[in-house]
């Protein structure tokens, strides 16, 4: 009888479907209505019991009665519920007529929950599915190590510096950097005064040719003469006066560094004028030094 069953399984002896946690007991039996391990929810300890379960998106009402207790194969009777929510509730009611209130209520609750999660599944499958691709530890480790070794072999800083110096040699920067004592003296032959903008036109043509011949598109052009860059000149040139000039330029340009990005075109004009200034003030600095 069910009372005996419950007193054995529920309280004293072992029930393999029972899962205990700190606060509650759960029942893992697939026919359980509520999922908890209670006297009224245990499918084994109640001879008259019903559940709602879903299979492949369709809901079924399972019922168990005392008459069939001797025939385990025919124990659970299955009724397909209609897809319409209200109709299905009526079907549950008419199948479980005269059954205890608890079971009827819980069946309907469970049916409601099931339909809601089925709706949610259908909505989610329409949205983007996130595909999880498992990482393989060995491969991850191997790739990390190879990356480290490739980094060491790459010698990035050296490579970048070499490339930049190459570009400097190839005159891609045009007139910006003023290194009088450099290897490409042949460029000096083209123009006497390197600070004139006339030579820039020639330079630009040369640079365009260079750029087109190259293999990897380096996406650059030579710019117009940008004398804001004079502030970067730190090389010592032949004359002391030039050094002094540069020092003056540096000092004046240092103040500008923050501003140059904002006032582009305005800046370009000023340095041009500045150079004329410096030529004029040469004698004054000379006198000062003397």
């Amino acid at each position: 009888s069910p009372q005996v069953v419950w007193s054995m399984l529920g309280n004293r002896q072992f029930c393999s479907y029972k899962m205990t946690t700190k606060t509650q007991n759960f029942c893992r039996n697939e026919y359980n209505l509520t999922g908890l391990c209670n006297r009224s929810s245990c499918p084994l300890a109640n001879s008259q019991y019903a559940t709602v379960r879903e299979e492949k998106g369709r809901c079924y009402l399972y019922m168990k009665t005392i008459e069939r207790a001797a025939f385990p194969r025919r124990l659970w009777e299955r009724v397909l519920l209609s897809k319409n929510y209200e109709k299905a509730l009526e079907e549950i009611d008419e199948n479980l007529i005269y059954w205890p209130r608890f079971i009827r209520h819980k069946c309907k609750q469970r049916f409601t929950k099931i339909t809601q999660y089925l709706i949610r599944i259908r909505k989610l499958t329409l949205k983007r599915q996130r595909k999880l691709v498992p990482l393989r530890r060995k491969i991850e480790r191997r790739e990390n190590r190879r990356e480290e070794k490739a980094l060491i072999a790459a010698q990035l800083d050296n490579a970048i510096e070499k490339e930049l110096l190459e570009r400097l040699k190839q005159d891609t920067y045009g007139d910006i950097y003023n290194f009088p004592i450099h290897a490409f003296d042949k460029a000096l032959q083209q123009q006497e005064a390197e600070s004139e903008s006339d030579s820039d036109a020639e330079r630009e043509e040369d640079d365009d040719e260079d750029v087109d011949k190259r293999e990897f598109v380096e996406a650059e052009d030579s710019e117009l003469s940008d004398f804001e860059d004079m502030d970067k000149l730190e090389t010592s040139s032949e004359e002391e006066q030039e050094e002094e000039e540069e020092v003056e330029k540096k000092a004046s340009h240092r103040k500008w560094k923050g501003k140059t990005p904002l006032k582009g075109p305005a800046r370009r004009k000023r340095p041009y004028i500045e150079i004329e200034y410096e030529e004029e003030t040469e004698p004054s600095t000379k006198t000062k030094a003397a």
């Binding site: 110096l165 990897f216 380096e218 996406a219």
Partner: protein
């Protein structure tokens, strides 16, 4: 184990090859059953090997010094780059076919200066702080780029909107466990889509001795070591992210360096100290990419036509074979 010499089977015409002299059969160390003794014998054998090697080296050095100036040049050490399996798709600088292809592929409008790059940077769903900060920093590095939150939108729907608003490139940074680990770079008016695995991401604050913030100047681009055809197209993809006219006053340079199929991205500020010396200072984020797949159209994982996918079983068999 000892070897037996046998006369070389061949025509009966020549005399039989001389028999090799058999020394008393040596035993190999691995045949000793006792582990301790075996270990001991192995160590002794190893020491002997090392001694022989050292002796050989010394002898060679002495010979070298003895010869003095007439010594033969030192042998070039083998590196993985030296030993790299020759890839038949390596691009020859004078190849006309490649030049023609490049004049007519999807990047041609960019390289003809017809389009200005405009980049959209976004992430996967619900990005964490690190990814968001990385996106912002990337946006400062790449000029004319905008960061937008993803908010659960499907890429297939974003792409037509982007094209309508004149974006030329789309970058999606995929995130896993709070760190960015993947990058999808898609050239927009139906250009190729490249999917990379991203690793060792360093934000600006994690870089030691970094400089000030990257300014708004357009940086130069350096593309190193993209030798094969595939590497070439990837290199052009990267180049297409940056506007054509670098502002040299900014002195900033973005580098994509390919080494053994790993693409290292660095962002530096340089200064020429003399005509033979340049100093560089790293600003900006750094990361490494490894190409996983290159797809012909815009992002379409199901029906896209893949130009290249990394197939581990076939492509990772040789350690000296690289594809980029």
């Amino acid at each position: 184990a000892g070897e037996g010499g046998a006369p070389v089977p061949g025509d009966g015409a020549g005399p039989p090859a001389p028999q090799r002299v058999l020394f008393p059969p040596t035993f190999s160390v691995s045949e000793i059953k006792n582990k301790q003794r075996r270990h001991f014998m192995f160590l002794r054998w190893k020491q002997q090997q090392r001694k022989e090697k050292l002796a050989l080296k010394k002898k060679r050095r002495k010979e070298r010094e003895a010869l003095g100036d007439k010594a033969p040049p030192k042998a070039i050490p083998k590196t993985i780059e030296n030993q790299r399996v020759y890839d038949e798709t390596t691009v020859d600088p004078n190849d006309e076919e490649v030049a023609f292809d490049e004049a007519t592929d999807e990047f041609a409008p960019y390289f003809n200066r017809q389009t200005v790059p405009k980049i959209l940077i976004t992430t996967s769903d619900r990005p964490r702080g690190r990814t968001v900060r990385f996106c912002e920093q990337l946006a400062t590095v790449i000029p004319n780029s905008h960061v937008y939150y993803r908010r659960g939108l499907a890429l297939k729907r974003i792409i037509p909107q982007c094209i309508a608003r004149d974006f030329t490139d789309l970058i999606v940074i995929n995130e896993d466990r709070k760190i960015p680990n993947g990058l999808v770079l898609s050239h927009l008016p139906d250009g190729p889509t490249a999917h990379f695995r991203m690793s060792s991401v360093r934000l600006r604050k994690e870089i030691k001795r970094k400089g000030k913030e990257p300014t708004e100047h357009i940086p130069e681009v350096i593309l190193n070591n993209f030798t094969t055809r595939l590497g070439h197209s990837i290199g052009r993809m990267f180049a297409a992210l940056f506007p054509h006219n670098p502002q040299f006053i900014g002195r900033q340079v973005a580098t994509f360096h390919n080494q053994r199929d790993y693409i290292f991205f660095r962002f530096h500020r340089y200064i020429f100290k003399s005509e033979k010396k340049v100093g560089i200072q790293e600003l900006g984020p750094r990361f490494t990419l490894k190409l996983r797949s290159l797809q012909k159209g815009t992002f379409d994982s199901k029906f896209g036509e893949y130009e290249w996918i990394h197939k581990r079983r076939e492509m990772d068999t040789s350690r000296r074979k690289f594809h980029l």
